[in-house]
Symmetry: C2
Subunit: 211 residues, 2 copies
């Protein structure tokens, strides 16, 4: 019954998806401005004008990269949290998952968001920020508990002196992890002590106080 000559809707979606993934990798490697539409087209075997069949302009691709990154990030983080029995285990899951989002192969979307934020058109920023706020909410939930348990940060006992303790902790911890996009490269070298697993372990040990 299906017309074999017509493309199924999923075909078009697949090509679009391929463009987004290739763009994410190129944007991360070379930057948004230094990546040409011709680079993107070539990466998926198209001619130079064809990406504009799927996207109105280059900025639309950037938006799609960030949107997909945040939606995937929200999904896998929610899943990871579901299996954590304690706040400390939640924290470990958050750190591990966030590092994965930044450094797993083929996962360039959030790194692009960090580096190329200023090239996103103003109007699109609002939508992306709304997604990012949901992601921050997951961290907020866990960090609040850990602070009340006195397991995060060297704040003074008097809570009134540090009303933004959770926000401070969140900005510092996520900042430290996000900044690894500028220097961390996983290598296959034997004896390299800075594997991704080691980085996760050291990060947790540095920030989380054992009771």
């Amino acid at each position: 019954m299906t017309d074999r000559k017509a493309h199924a809707p999923s075909d078009e979606a697949n090509r679009r998806e391929a463009l987004v993934r290739a763009s994410a990798r190129l944007f991360r490697e070379k930057g948004f401005k230094a990546t040409t539409v011709r680079d993107i087209a070539a990466a998926v075997g198209m001619r130079s004008g064809s990406p504009f069949y799927h996207f109105a302009n280059k900025e639309e691709i950037l938006r799609a990269v960030m949107e997909q990154g945040l939606k995937m990030g929200l999904q896998i983080t929610t899943d990871a949290l579901a299996h954590a029995p304690t706040a400390a285990e939640e924290f470990r899951a958050l750190v591990r998952t966030h590092y994965g989002i930044l450094h797993d192969p083929g996962s360039d979307f959030i790194a692009v968001m960090i580096y190329e934020w200023r090239h996103l058109p103003q109007g699109d920023k609002r939508d992306i920020i709304a997604l990012k706020d949901r992601y921050d909410g997951l961290w907020h939930h866990t960090l609040s508990q850990l602070i009340q348990q006195g397991r995060l940060g060297h704040f003074t006992a008097d809570k009134s002196l540090m009303p933004d303790a959770e926000k401070t902790a969140r900005l510092m911890i996520l900042g430290a992890i996000n900044y690894t996009v500028t220097w961390f490269k996983e290598t296959d070298q034997t004896n390299n002590p800075w594997t991704l697993d080691a980085l996760i372990e050291r990060t947790v040990q540095f920030f989380l106080r054992t009771p």
Copy 2:
């Protein structure tokens, strides 16, 4: 005796300096690739071809921005450390000075280094890294003492389990501070609790354990 028609060497140096400062601001605002040589020339009142009298190409300007930023950073940090009587006071001075390097008005050089590192030609990277290593050395000196005093990070008592404790602490703390270039904007709004001074205070309180 001086020929009044000839430019003194300092005139040329002043124009070069103006180009570097204007470029730093533009590179930070728009990015290296999105900033045109015409933008830079216009910012100092030159015509489009004239920056090439001072620099061989656009990348040379980027290199000058980073080099000047690190040299200035080394200078003011060394000065700030000279007046700190204890390791804890050194830490406070390092945090305060580093935030100043990132957020003081007219101080865009290191922010550009963070964002535009990949656009620096390979050969230039080595020289800049050498300067950066000297800067890291200042932090290393202070952080090592604080770790031995047990005032930094939640490492286990057994030191052998965390041989890279100082490096971990340095990467996490400098990462957290450097990442503020992506979100921190000083505003004049009354009642805004996130002034630069508050950020410095919260950062120190978060990372440094009071004995």
